[in-house]
């Protein structure tokens, strides 16, 4: 679901390699009972394999949708000037499983007296090559360039999530089939340097999700359990709670 400021639009992706974008059409005001209807406003089918994840960029960056596909490519669709454009590039040869945008503002920009260079368009991808890659948009070349590769997982990276909170550090969480979640952090003072901490689980992990603010991490695993984690000031991650059935 995109930010409401762009309307009630929804992107879906599927195994058939398609990304569809839907818009909710307000129904005739006189018959609310019939509910709203959704119409497909865009059909993107350039991926040749399953599109495993789609992700809307922070609204500040515009109406941008990034798609991760098993064909190894990432595409970024942009709606601007009333038209959809796209860029597709190769990201993970073994297939891209997940994608997550960084917050539009740089880490630390909120609390540092010297704000960074404004907004960024940057995202992270996780692939079946066990890697995590960070991509940055270059305004000059108008392309997304690989700026960092994070190695550590020993199996597929099923999900990545970039924390939306912009405190002093950037956080990326990655969930892997290797039964670990890694939390990668980078200090604003040393942007290119990522260090990771590993949370071990008994099962393969499928999803990680950050809270909108506050850096709580929800981890969901193959055992059907969801647990919430937070970082204490010593920098250790501790479980806050399990969400029970």
């Amino acid at each position: 679901m995109a930010h409401p400021k762009f309307g009630t639009i929804l992107a879906s992706s599927s195994y058939d390699g398609k990304v569809l974008i839907w818009r909710e059409q307000p129904q005739n005001a006189t018959s609310p009972a019939s509910g709203s209807s959704w119409t497909k406003v865009f059909d993107f089918s350039l991926h040749t394999a399953s599109v495993n994840m789609v992700s809307w960029a922070p609204h500040e960056s515009g109406c941008l949708l990034a798609c991760a596909s098993s064909d190894g490519h990432v595409s970024v669709l942009e709606f601007r000037d009333n038209a959809w454009t796209h860029q597709t590039f190769h990201a993970h040869g073994m297939g891209v499983n997940s994608i997550s945008w960084a917050p539009a503002a740089f880490a630390g920009s909120l609390i540092s007296s010297n704000p960074g260079p404004g907004q960024q368009r940057r995202f992270v991808t996780g692939g079946s090559d066990n890697l995590i890659k960070i991509w940055d948009y270059s305004a000059e070349s108008k392309t997304y360039n690989l700026t960092q590769t994070l190695e550590g997982h020993s199996d597929w990276v099923r999900d990545v999530a970039w924390s939306p909170s912009i405190l002093s550090k950037s956080y990326i969480a990655s969930a892997s089939q290797d039964k670990t979640v890694r939390i990668w952090t980078s200090d604003a003072s040393n942007p290119g340097q990522w260090t990771s901490q590993t949370l071990e689980f008994d099962t393969v992990l499928w999803r990680v999700s950050w809270s909108l603010s506050g850096n709580i991490l929800a981890v969901s695993g193959g055992d059907n359990k969801v647990s919430l984690w937070k970082e204490n000031l010593k920098g250790q991650w501790e479980k806050v709670k399990d969400i029970e059935e």
Partner: protein, 1260 residues
């Protein structure tokens, strides 16, 4: 599929195990000749480098090792501490070679681990045990089957008897679930299941008549299932067996056209299996169902081996005798004609073998369902407003899943803090709040800020500030020093009364002034002067004693002549300051000033206090502020508090604060920051204070992070933020701060604060406190882009809950709302398009404005015009409408008209039709002069509705927005205006006296509808243009403007709930009608959508004695059909489906009533009782009703009149309805209210189409 890579070899191959990037090992296939006819055999490793994007490049082996013989099979498994595992090759010459992959890759020469030659013939197949990768099974010629342990390679053990068999073991497979079970398939058609533990055969399958077996594979999930393939050209079949019944295969897969050579069952998804064979094809099956999902591009020679990538089954490889191994993807969603082209180019014309190849066709391939490894079984995600949404399988093994939404607060203390603060604010107990906060403050700065707030809260902020500065303490050095200055005496005199008191009372209450007063050296010259003035002294003097200098003489002379100024000049010239002052004092204000000026200018080098005094006296404190040494800032501040002009005070404080801040910046001395913030606070300079606080916030946070260990950085951040927001909030309250820049588009001075507000709102929203979040966002200018976004989001998030709440609170009036939630959504959506919305909002205006503009369109245009006349048809409407009421009021009119007309809906956009409506005749009928109110439609209405124009105009104010809208012509939807006209005003003047009197009743309840007002105002006397102009009386045009709707501005974001239209108290009624106590008389024009039981029903019933309170509502309901689409009054919106749509759909043709309204002579006998009883009842009620219910009574009466009109005309109402009405009337007469209600309900529910506005009028 997409062909990713191609290895140009005729070779058997094995995928590397594990999750690392995939390699392929190839061993030259025994019995194949390569393109050079070379008979060299080798083992090679290939890196697929899938991260490389271009697949066109031909792969080169990364490792190549020559071997003695060709390969029949290869296997690769993880082993022990090797990184890349061990590769095992089954050679044609019978030897089993083992290589260490790591060493191979490293290129070291000792990569060969071992070579054993236990087999007497060729090894045909080999495989590592999937669970114990040290166990390797090899099968080969003459039925030889060995199990080798990599830890003891030299001593494999043999399965089965050593008696030589004639058949060869062609294939084997370890069971995937039961580690010690192995199956082999032989060329003689024996499929044998071995128990490696016991080293015995446990089962042999009769492979459908001993057909040769080329491949076997176990089901990856079910241990008893396996598949076999036959290589026979005549019988290219694949059998699926369940060993629980080994007599016959469970299923046969037919698809290949020639012998099947290889099978691969996907480990990750048992629904996927690959096969390849002599027909050069490669097919993907679902072995569980037997369905062939599809096939991959056909090649030009036998495909003798196919294998899933063991770790990423998105890939598989197939080797064929046409000299290549192709690595493909399982899926390809589109025809890749490009790939074909590439291939063609790659053709090498000179290559014999290459020429023989036919290019594979590349085709779409996609599974009908996603493979298992892509199905996410579970997931959790945070949502807006502190929720976690999670999905999970509802039970293990099933595909069904469950969605859970769990509320979650990141930090529960945040929510609590927010709440307690908001509560405190609400209670208004700021002082104690400040105290608590000050007590709890962690830093001096914090404390200082809170203390300042306290000070500011006191009754005399400035004084308290001074106290706060420490000047109440005589021990305070600053104060002392200041007091020593001994100045301010003059001011002391000015403020004498005040100053003296504190001084005498108690030390601690001394104020600055008193301090001055108390100075030891009170021999200040000014004091002296003052004291001596006019006082008798013991020191007589002579005016001239002869010893005077010339100057003295001059002075004396001047004095004697009363020329003080001159005397002063002389004295000054002589530099006799004290004399000069003395003279000046006598000489009046002007002289004093002159003397002061002169003195100060002379004293520039003198003591500092003189300078201060100069500033104070000169009422110019800027000098002090700008030039005083900052170490004395407190004194400066004190001076400001004491002397500064009310107007200048803030700016002075500001300037001082700026200086302090500058100092902070220069020196890095943080303590001064507190002081600066004090100055800003005192000066009410919010923006400056905020910037300091923001800085503090950062530091606090930093400190918190350093000192605290148990919390997350977030909690600390939020706590700091909370502190900031509290401070700002309190400060705003204390100083009554008004943000003057809320309407600016950018460059706000407070933009830092706005950002904090937004952030805070976000945090608070995350903790589920949406209302609070909204509150803070509202403090941010509307144009702030981020706030706008955030606000919209919150509004969206809130739209449901609040609505409910509202509905509850305003239950009576608002009931319809709850049902409507859906309705609102559409509006909120961004589509500006929705005409409905537009109509509602802007509707009012059109009416007024439009008519003139589009005469043709508007049948009623005339009405507008008519309004100019004193008697305003609209006025009545307006009256009804006013106060929240508007909509209702409004509608009523229409409703009434409707009755007159009967079914016809007049209106609409169809101007033409409408035009017809206003029958001139009526004009005649109506008694009142044309000039005056035509009572037009609403007979009864006029009674209290008609207001003089003037009145009407005034009225508008109460209504929010609407009036304005009306006034402004530019309605967004001018086109819609037509609806207004509901032309056919019921002609009949109401019988009731009251009703008739069009005269505006000033006294009438001030419910004026503004819309009307506007309309009235606008149009000038009936323009000739207007066809209707002539009929002033046909005021029918009801301005339909549903005022209420306006509030909910067009903006999609306006959450309707928030704006409960004040309007309709009565709004609900529309709904109510149905239930209502009202009778039905005639088919109201606007068929009230009565959805079943209206929430109102009860209410209706309740007020029995009095005129029905609901009466008014009735009218509301009866909106003229036409309007439906365009103008739906708010209430109706709620029930979108019903009323509006109906009306819109079928506007009844305009019909003219047979008889004029008011005529009662034609009431049919059967209806007579209705008339008689009800009208008498009405009279009774009217007489008794308290004045406060006058409106209702009138309204009820009006409605009854409508009913009567219908009865009179015998239209609209079916006879049986009349019957019921009669019964109802009788019941009422006999006070049998119970029966009456039953009947009423019945009517309402069963004959909705007939009952209209009049229904409501039946008093209960």
């Amino acid at each position: 599929m997409v062909r990713l890579r191609e290895i140009p070899r005729t070779a058997t191959f094995a995928w590397s195990p594990g999750a690392a990037s995939p390699l392929i090992a190839t061993g030259t296939r025994a019995g194949a000749v390569d393109v050079d006819f070379s008979n060299k055999t080798c083992l090679e490793l290939w890196d697929l480098s899938l991260e490389r994007q271009d697949a066109s490049e031909e792969l080169q082996p990364v490792v190549k090792i020559d071997t003695d013989s060709g390969f029949n099979d290869l296997a690769w498994a993880d082993f022990d501490d090797t990184k890349r595992g061990v590769i095992a090759g089954g050679l044609e010459n019978g030897s089993l070679d083992l290589w260490n992959a790591d060493k191979l890759l490293a290129g070291s020469s000792d990569s060969l681990i071992s070579r054993t030659t236990e087999h007497s013939g060729a090894i045909k197949a080999l495989q590592f045990n999937p669970k114990h990768s040290n166990l390797l099974a090899t099968g080969g010629a003459k039925g030889e089957l060995f199990i080798s342990d990599l830890n003891n390679v030299e001593n494999p053990f043999r399965l089965g008897t050593t008696t030589a068999r004639t058949d060869d073991i062609e294939c084997l497979d370890w069971n995937k679930k039961v580690a010690h079970i192995l199956v082999t398939g032989s060329s003689a058609g024996f499929v044998t299941v071995w128990d490696v533990k016991t080293k015995k055969e446990s089962l042999t399958l009769n492979n459908m008549g001993r057909k040769a077996v080329s491949a076997v594979a176990w089901d990856p999930a079910k241990p008893t299932k396996l598949i076999t393939a036959t290589p026979l050209e005549s019988d290219p079949l694949i059998y699926v067996w369940d060993l629980r019944n080994s007599h016959a295969p469970e299923r046969t897969l037919k698809g290949h056209e020639s012998g099947v050579l290889s099978l691969s069952w996907c480990d990750q998804d048992p629904d996927l299996m690959l096969s390849s064979g002599k027909d050069n094809r490669n097919i993907c099956w679902n072995p569980q169902t037997g369905e062939a999902y599809g096939e991959f591009p056909v090649v030009t020679n036998w495909t003798f081996q196919t294998r899933w990538n063991p770790h990423n089954p998105n890939f598989f490889a197939t080797a064929s005798f046409d000299g290549r191994i192709s690595i493909q993807t399982l899926q390809n969603t589109k025809d890749n004609s490009q790939a074909i082209a590439d291939h063609n180019q790659a053709l090498d014309g000179e290559d014999f073998f290459a020429k023989a190849q036919i290019q594979p066709q590349v085709s779409k391939f996609s599974l009908p369902k996603p493979p298992k490894w892509l199905e996410r079984p579970c997931g959790a995600s945070f949502g807006f407003g502190g929720r976690v949404v999670s999905i999970g399988l509802s039970e293990k093994g099933s595909r069904a899943s469950k969605v859970r939404i769990t509320p979650f607060e990141v930090d529960s203390s945040v929510g609590n803090a927010t709440e307690s603060f908001e509560t405190a604010l609400k209670e208004g107990d700021l002082r104690s709040l400040c105290e608590t906060r000050a007590a709890g403050a962690s830093t001096e700065e914090e404390k200082a800020d809170w203390k300042v707030f306290q000070a500011l809260l006191s009754e005399n902020p400035r004084k308290t500030l001074v106290e706060y500065l420490g000047f109440q303490d005589s021990a305070d050095e600053a104060a002392d020093s200041l007091s020593k200055l001994g100045l301010g005496k003059k001011e002391d005199e000015e403020t004498n009364g005040v100053a003296e008191k504190p001084k005498s009372s108690a030390k601690k209450h001394k104020r600055l002034q008193s301090m001055f007063d108390a100075t030891p050296d009170s021999d200040n010259f000014l004091t002296e002067l003052a004291a001596s003035k006019g006082a008798q002294t013991n020191n007589p003097f002579q005016i001239f004693n002869g010893s005077e200098s010339p100057a003295e003489q001059k002075i004396t002379r001047a004095l004697l002549l009363g020329e003080f100024e001159k005397a002063l000049d002389v004295a000054l010239a002589e530099d006799r300051m004290s004399d000069a002052f003395m003279i000046a004092i006598c000489g009046g204000q002007k002289c004093i000033e002159k003397a002061q000026e002169y003195y100060f200018s002379k004293q520039t080098g003198g003591p500092n206090y003189m300078r201060l005094l100069a500033s104070i006296v000169g009422k110019n404190l800027w000098d002090v502020v700008h030039n005083a040494d900052l170490s004395n800032w407190k004194e400066v501040m004190a001076a400001l508090c004491t002397f500064a002009d009310e107007k200048e005070f803030p700016d002075l404080c500001d300037a001082l604060g700026d200086r302090l801040e500058e100092q902070v910046r220069d020196s890095g001395d943080k303590t001064a920051r507190k002081d600066a913030s004090f100055c800003f606070l005192a000066g009410s300079k919010l923006e400056k204070a905020v910037s300091i606080w923001v800085e503090e916030l950062r530091e606090n946070e930093q400190r918190g992070i350093e000192s605290d260990t148990d919390n997350s950085t977030f909690s600390i951040h939020v706590r700091a933020l909370q502190g900031l927001i509290e401070k700002v909030t309190i400060f705003r309250q204390v100083t009554n701060f008004q943000d003057e820049e809320k309407n600016k588009d950018s460059d706000w001075r407070l933009s830092t604060l706005y950002e904090k507000y937004i952030e805070y709102a976000d945090v608070v929203a995350t903790h589920g406190r949406l209302q609070v979040a909204q509150k803070y966002l509202d403090l941010v200018p509307a144009k702030h882009p981020e706030a706008e976004v955030a606000r919209n989001r919150i509004n969206l998030a809130m739209r449901q809950a609040p609505q409910k709440a509202q509905a509850a609170s305003t239950a009576k009036s608002f009931k319809p709302l709850p049902q409507q939630p859906n309705i609102y959504q559409p509006q909120q959506t961004f589509s500006p398009v929705a005409p409905a919305i537009g109509a509602q909002t802007s509707y009012a205006p059109p009416t007024a404005a439009v008519p003139p503009a589009q005469p043709p369109a508007n049948a009623f245009a005339p009405p507008t015009a008519s309004q100019s006349q004193p008697a305003n048809p609209y006025a009545s409407i307006g009256g009804a409408a006013r106060s929240g009421y508007t909509p209702a009021g409004y509608q009523p009119t229409q409703g009434m008209q409707a009755p007159a007309y009967g079914p016809q809906s007049t209106f609409g956009n169809q101007s033409a039709g409408t035009g017809v409506v206003p029958p001139p005749p009526r004009a005649g009928t109506q008694s009142p002069g044309n000039t005056i109110t035509t009572y037009t439609t609403a007979t009864g209405l006029d009674a209290w509705n008609d207001l003089p124009e003037g009145f009407a105009k005034k009225a508008p104010t109460p209504r929010r927005g609407t009036p304005v809208a009306a006034a402004t012509i530019s309605s967004p939807f001018p086109g819609q205006s037509p609806p207004l006209a509901q032309g056919p005003p019921p002609p009949g003047p109401p019988q009731r006296a009251p009703s008739v009197p069009p005269p505006p009743k000033a006294g009438a309840p001030p419910r004026v509808t503004s819309p009307l007002a506007s309309s009235m105002a606008g149009p000038s006397p009936p323009p000739p243009v207007n066809p209707y102009a002539s009929l002033p009386q046909s005021p029918p045009t009801s301005t339909m403007s549903p005022p209420a709707s306006i509030h909910r501005g067009p903006s999609p974001y306006n959450a309707p709930p928030s704006v409960p239209p004040p309007t309709n108290r009565y709004a609900p009624n529309p709904a109510a009608q149905a239930p209502g106590p009202q009778l039905q008389a005639r088919p109201p024009v606007a068929p009230p959508p009565q959805g079943g039981p209206s929430p109102y029903a009860p209410q209706a019933a309740a007020p029995p004695p009095v005129a029905s309170p609901y009466a008014p509502s009735g009218p509301a309901v009866a909106q003229p059909p036409p309007m439906g689409s365009a103008v739906p009054p708010p209430p109706q919106r709620s029930r979108p489906g019903t009323a509006q749509s109906q009306r819109a759909a079928a506007p009844p043709p305009p019909a003219t009533p047979k008889y004029p309204p008011g005529d009662r002579s034609h009431i049919p006998p059967n209806a007579m009782p209705v008339y008689e009883i009800l009208s008498s009842d009405m009279q009774r009620v009217k007489a008794r009703a308290p004045t406060s219910f006058k409106a209702q009574v009138d309204d009820a009466e009006r409605r009854l009149n409508i009913l009567f009109d219908h009865l009179n005309n015998e239209d609209l109402i079916k006879p049986n309805t009349v019957e019921d009405l009669a019964n109802l009337a009788r019941a009422i007469q006999s006070k049998d209210y119970e029966t009456a209600r039953v009947i009423h309900l019945d009517i309402m529910t069963n004959r909705t189409e007939e009952c209209g506005n009049w229904m409501v009028g039946v008093p209960f």
